[in-house]
């Protein structure tokens, strides 16, 4: 049963998916860290990011200059779409969540569901209810590393994700702004007293989370070759599971949770049942929340209300 012919391709697929989940889950975990709210609309930012990336790619591919210069093409597409998704994320916070900050905890969640419904339908109505093909910028080359076969897109996704995660770790731990984020996350009132403009920090957190979510959207498009207006939901809920698995509010935890979920899911699909692939994530989510709500790396004690 357990032969290497299945396990290695599934493992590689799992790590690739895990990298994408990890990138998305950072947005959930950072927002939860500062505001203790589940940003339900994050999944739609992933979708929107994928579409922004699609526009930019199709636009830039019209120029021969970019066609010949792959690195420049990818850098500009990623940076620009990160900016746009980041602004979208920060704008959602400003318009739909900030006015609700002082109310009952359920209100921001309901508002977030509204945003999610709105964005999904906006993209469906203005663009297309059908799946859109994603242009392939890479020649798909298979590499053989011992018994493991890995293709160029998988390598690209894993490298890009790890790059962004390392950059985020550096930013959060080594820069002044990053430390301000950590301070806001551990105690927003005290952070305010220390002279941190917590409103700007919250906007920044939403910007960063959404920018990373946008990158993940593009990576999904590149990996599967097509995107759709309702693609966000599945990735969103899985990335949220990853964030919870790693300990919500904890950045390294989200990365760990992402990779673990990706691998578990791929192996589960290969060895148990592919029809129930999506069920695994939900079962893991429920089990973690019931038995270990702080997750693997979470240290924050659950508050009572």
């Amino acid at each position: 049963m357990a032969n290497s012919a299945i396990i290695f391709p599934e493992l590689v697929n799992g790590i690739t998916l895990g990298a994408i989940y990890a990138l998305i889950s950072l947005g959930y975990t950072m927002v939860y860290g500062v505001l203790l709210m589940i940003n339900f609309a994050h999944s739609e930012i992933v979708m929107a990011g994928a579409f922004f990336g699609l526009f930019l790619l199709s636009f830039f591919l019209k120029f021969t200059f970019f066609q010949n210069n792959l690195l420049l093409l990818l850098t500009s597409v990623f940076l620009l779409s990160m900016c746009v998704s980041g602004i979208l994320g920060a704008a959602i916070e400003r318009l739909a969540y900030r006015p609700l900050r002082k109310t009952n905890r359920l209100m921001p969640l309901i508002s977030a569901i509204g945003v999610s419904l709105f964005l999904q339908n906006l993209f469906m109505l203005t663009l297309s209810p059908e799946a859109k093909p994603y242009p392939s910028v890479f020649p798909a080359v298979n590499f053989q590393l011992g018994a493991v076969t890995i293709n160029s897109i998988q390598i690209f996704i894993i490298i890009i994700s790890i790059l962004f995660m390392v950059a985020l770790e550096y930013f959060v731990n080594r820069t002044k702004l990053g430390v301000a984020i950590k301070a806001t996350s551990s105690d927003i009132e005290t952070a305010k007293l220390m002279g941190i403009n917590t409103n700007s920090i919250i906007s920044l957190v939403f910007f960063i989370g959404a920018a990373l979510g946008g990158v993940a959207g593009i990576l999904v498009g590149m990996y599967y070759g097509s995107i759709k207006y309702n693609m966000g939901f599945t990735y969103g809920i899985k990335a949220f599971t990853a964030a919870v698995l790693g300990g919500i509010g904890n950045i390294p935890g989200a990365m760990l949770g992402g990779f673990m979920l990706g691998i578990l899911e791929s192996l589960g699909a290969a060895y148990i049942s592919s029809a129930y692939k999506d069920v695994f994530a939900f079962i893991i989510l429920i089990l973690v929340l019931i038995f270990k709500p702080t997750g693997l790396l979470g240290e924050r004690a659950q508050d009572k209300c």
Partner: protein
């Protein structure tokens, strides 16, 4: 005051019943169908309101229990059970699932609970979609060659739209009556106390996890009721009727109409089910496309400008003022 409100409610029900009969006479069967559909949603929204509105637990997977009710009814009916036998059995099955899910969840905080119920809703839909042996997968129930038996009442067969409408109206009225009783009972007051302040409620001697579980389980009665009637009325169930967005749609009705207030919820259902149909008739099919877009926007605007809903519960309106 109370008497007057009750009379007004009975008056409304009679008016609606007469209006439906008038539509039936004018052969507007589609409109009667929409009224019945609204009735099913009122049942669901009443159940969901018990969890969200009274007890303050956000449930994003309520539709799963509607699905369990509908599927159990379809399965039992093809085995030869009658509607009146299925009704209690399905309610029992659905409540059992609800209880088993709720038992370990009641320790979880509000937003975590919302996500777990969402997860359970999706698991249910995926199982219905994939467990061919039991649920016939995406093709739905009943299978070819089987039928859902029609409802009979004293040798009278319910087969027209209007007869189903009256059946649904009866159950809606009975549910409202039952919920009014619960609302004014010790348990109902405990629900609201938990919503207002769980710690204070516990200090007052309320066994909060037990009361929360009770609210969670009782709400499933209405979901099962709606599911059983739906399966018999439409005569067909398939997994696609029970998607996550249906749950969201229900939450919208409760939140927009006014959490905790029965009249508000009915208004919410009319707004979200009735209005689109009315606008479709007057403005043409185009509008239906923009429906969900509009609802999403409305949800955001309402939570910001009028979090208590269009017709709020008195206590909640006071609470949000200060």
């Amino acid at each position: 005051m109370l008497k007057k409100a009750k009379l007004l409610e009975i008056f409304f029900i009679v008016i609606i019943a007469l209006a439906a009969y008038l539509l039936h006479l004018k052969q507007e069967f589609y409109l009667v169908h929409i009224l019945s559909l609204a009735g099913i949603y009122v049942l669901l929204a009443l159940g969901l309101n018990m969890v969200i509105g009274y007890t303050g637990l956000l449930d994003l997977g309520f539709i799963a229990f509607y699905a369990i009710g509908a599927y159990s009814a379809a399965l039992l009916s093809s085995k030869g059970f009658s509607f009146w036998a299925i009704l209690p059995i399905s309610i029992l099955i659905t409540c059992a699932f609800r209880f088993l899910l709720g038992k370990p969840l009641m320790r979880l905080r509000g937003d975590y609970l919302a996500i777990v119920t969402l997860g359970f809703g999706e698991i249910t839909r995926l199982i219905l979609n994939n467990w061919d042996a039991l649920t016939n997968g995406p093709k739905g129930l009943p299978r070819v060659g089987e039928t859902i038996r029609p409802i009979t009442l004293f040798s009278f067969h319910l087969n027209s739209e209007i007869s189903y409408f009256y059946l649904i109206l009866f159950f809606v009225a009975a549910s409202i009556f039952a919920i009014r009783r619960i609302e004014r009972s010790k348990i109902g007051r405990a629900f609201v106390a938990i919503r207002e302040d769980e710690i204070a409620a516990e200090a007052m001697g309320i066994n909060t996890s037990y009361i929360k579980l009770l609210s969670f389980t009782i709400s499933a009665v209405f979901a099962a009721l709606a599911g059983v009637i739906y399966a018999h009325w439409i005569g067909f169930v398939s997994p696609e009727s029970f998607s996550f967005w249906e749950s969201v749609f229900l939450v919208c009705m409760v939140v927009l109409g006014g959490m905790g207030n029965i009249l508000g919820i009915i208004f919410g259902v009319i707004l979200l089910v009735g209005l689109p149909e009315f606008l479709r008739i007057t403005l043409g099919g185009e509008f239906v496309l923009y429906r969900m877009l509009l609802f999403g926007l409305l949800m955001v605007i309402m939570t910001i400008l009028r979090p208590q809903g269009i017709i709020p519960e008195k206590r909640r309106a006071l609470e949000l003022k200060d």
